[in-house]
């Protein structure tokens, strides 16, 4: 039993990294622009379906990893320039409504183009086996996703802490008005942030496609998990998304042995506990 529980903790870390990747785009946008981007799940969905289309046509997930985030970034920029930009002076409900509408629209378009049934995205042959970690078995592809996520997390941390854009982002999340008064084009920064959030959601979508397959309602999981993770970890903080993701992953995994029927429930129970004890999230601040 101990060996199994130990595996569940390790497995939970793996799930947690995937959950972090699902959430980081959402928290970035919230940190700067102060609203929950409901189109987050839709960007994830579009990228996953693009991965399906590209792998069906060319057999290469690597090509999809290149194409999908670029395409979704373009989509995010279009959404931001065309729709969101006009709502920044309005209360945040406007941004929520617009992104929710975009999400519904995108989902229906996906169903129109690809049909309502799920499809398969094959795992790249090189990663389709298992690896042996001591006494444990773990899918090679999941390990690959964990590694990629770790690299992305490191790159993001470097970008936020060490680059000018990162400094602007951090400053903007404290006071967007002040940043504007300092002569920086806040509108451009918002666009770049929204695009980056979209790109990260897209990366998650492509990487998740071989694990989950693609189906039109898969965005529900992305948005649901991302929301829980960033609330637990702290809205707007990258390290919060990481901590939140890992915690949720471990809770879910360990519970699936201790109380399998309640594993999902315990995820939300953990969120409720965190909100009670630290309303701003574990690493968040209001």
């Amino acid at each position: 039993m101990t060996q199994l529980l130990l595996f569940q903790v390790l497995n939970g870390l793996g799930i947690g990294m995937i959950y972090f990747l699902l959430s980081v785009g959402l928290t970035l946008i919230f940190g700067l622009m102060r609203f929950v981007n409901f189109a987050h799940g839709a960007f994830y969905l579009v990228a996953a379906y693009l991965a399906y289309a590209v792998t069906a046509a060319t057999g290469s997930l690597w090509l999809a990893l290149l194409v999908a985030p670029l395409a979704v970034t373009a989509l995010a920029i279009v959404v931001e320039r065309l729709l969101l930009r006009h709502t920044y002076a309005m209360p945040h409900e406007a941004q929520i409504l617009i992104t929710f509408a975009v999400a519904l629209l995108i989902q229906e378009v996906v169903i129109m183009v690809f049909g309502p049934l799920g499809q398969n995205v094959p795992t790249p042959a090189a990663l389709s086996g298992v690896v042996f970690l001591g006494p444990y078995v773990y899918p090679a592809y999941r390990l690959f996703v964990v590694v990629v996520t770790a690299v992305v997390a490191a790159a993001l941390w470097l970008a936020v802490e060490r680059t000018k854009l990162g400094a602007v982002l951090r400053a903007g999340s404290e006071s967007a008005e002040m940043v504007g008064l300092l002569g920086i084009n806040v509108s451009r920064v918002f666009m770049a942030t929204f695009a980056l959030g979209g790109a990260l959601a897209a990366l998650a979508g492509v990487l998740a496609a071989p694990i989950r397959g693609v189906e039109p309602f898969m965005s529900a999981e992305a948005l649901g998990i991302a929301f829980v993770v960033i609330v637990v970890g702290g809205l707007g903080t990258l390290s919060g998304a990481l901590v939140g993701g890992l915690l949720i992953g471990i809770v879910q995994s360990v519970m699936s042995t201790l109380w399998p029927g309640g594993a999902q429930l315990m995820v939300y129970a953990a969120m409720a506990l965190v909100i009670l004890v630290r309303p701003a999230g574990l690493l968040g601040r209001f």
């Binding site: 199994l4 793996g14 049934l117 398969n120 094959p122 086996g129 995994s253 399998p260 309640g262």
Partner: protein, 403 residues
Amino acid sequence: MSMERRTILKGLAAAPVALAAPGYLRRAAAQEGTLDVAAVYSLSGTFANVGTLLNNGSQWAAEKYGSVLGKKINYILLDDRGDPGEAVRKVQEVMTQRGVRHIVGCTNSAIALAVQKEVFARGGVYVQMAGADESTGKDCNRSNFRWPVASYSAVNATVRPLIEKFPNAKKWYTITGQYVFGDSLLTNCKAIFAEKGLTHVGNSYHSLSDREYSGYIATALAAQPDVLAICNFGNQTLDVIRQAISFGMKRNTKILAIWSTGLDQYQALGPDNCEGVYFGCNFWHGVDTPGARAVAEVVKAKTGDVPNYLHACGYAVVQVLVEGIKKAGTTDVPAVIKALEGMSYEGPTGLETVRAEDHQVIKDYYLMLGKAKGAMKDKNDFADIVSATKAFLPPDKTGCKMT
């Protein structure tokens, strides 16, 4: 002023008659030249993908028949948006305001169970495709007829043949959806395990919204089962299969998906995942019977491809209703119900019979085995049939007391 008032009063008196008359005329027209058949499907909401295809199957069947006893079939779609309450409201409305008495379809068991009560209360006849045992079990009623097999049959038509094929497979692990349908699959499994002296090495429940199964699979792997029996439905079945395979479970364990819709799920999994996995199905397009050919013809004309379970199921419920009406020689509901009881017809799986005691259609349920990509004869040839069984509880054991 008084002239105006009298005119208004006359107008008011005439209004109800004017309103009622078209309705009466409509009803009269319905009785003469057309037969209204209402179809209850979800075209939006999370089951929209299922509902859309079921509706297609039913609508195309109605078009193919065209008319019955000289009356043109008027297909009325009731979109319940995935909500049983909405379904009941719409059925109520169409039965009371338009006098419809012939109803088909459901997108899930919750909707079917709610609608079948309503149709019975209002004296209609209802042919549907619920998966829950209760529909022709303890909740059975005279108006209600069910085409696909339910959980007892699905489990017995898959687990028993698998035990015969692998007599040394003693240790079984189950992953079960913690809802009524999942539980009924599990209960039926446990009954067979007990009877055959097999070891049920463990069960993991999961919730209706779960998508991450790695924890359950790790627990299953630790128990080292010979067979993993999956007791859930829909996308959750696919998720468990995909993730179990990714953890290498196929090497030492047979995977059995007791309740599968066949072709559309095979397409969603892809041949590499399907290979070597056992599936239980209500319909397979590869089975060549006159009834299956009729469905295949209709679907090919509309889509250019072979039918999947949803097409066949949607088609079958209309077929049963129309064949019942033809046999009765009238659209009068009590006569149709009587004609349906014990009726045999060429259905999508071959010769099918409506059992009189509980109105369950007696038909085959298939155990299928996924084949390697290289062995596929065409793009739809994902699996071979291992066995076809009619496994049903005797009527007195189903809990059905037909009034």
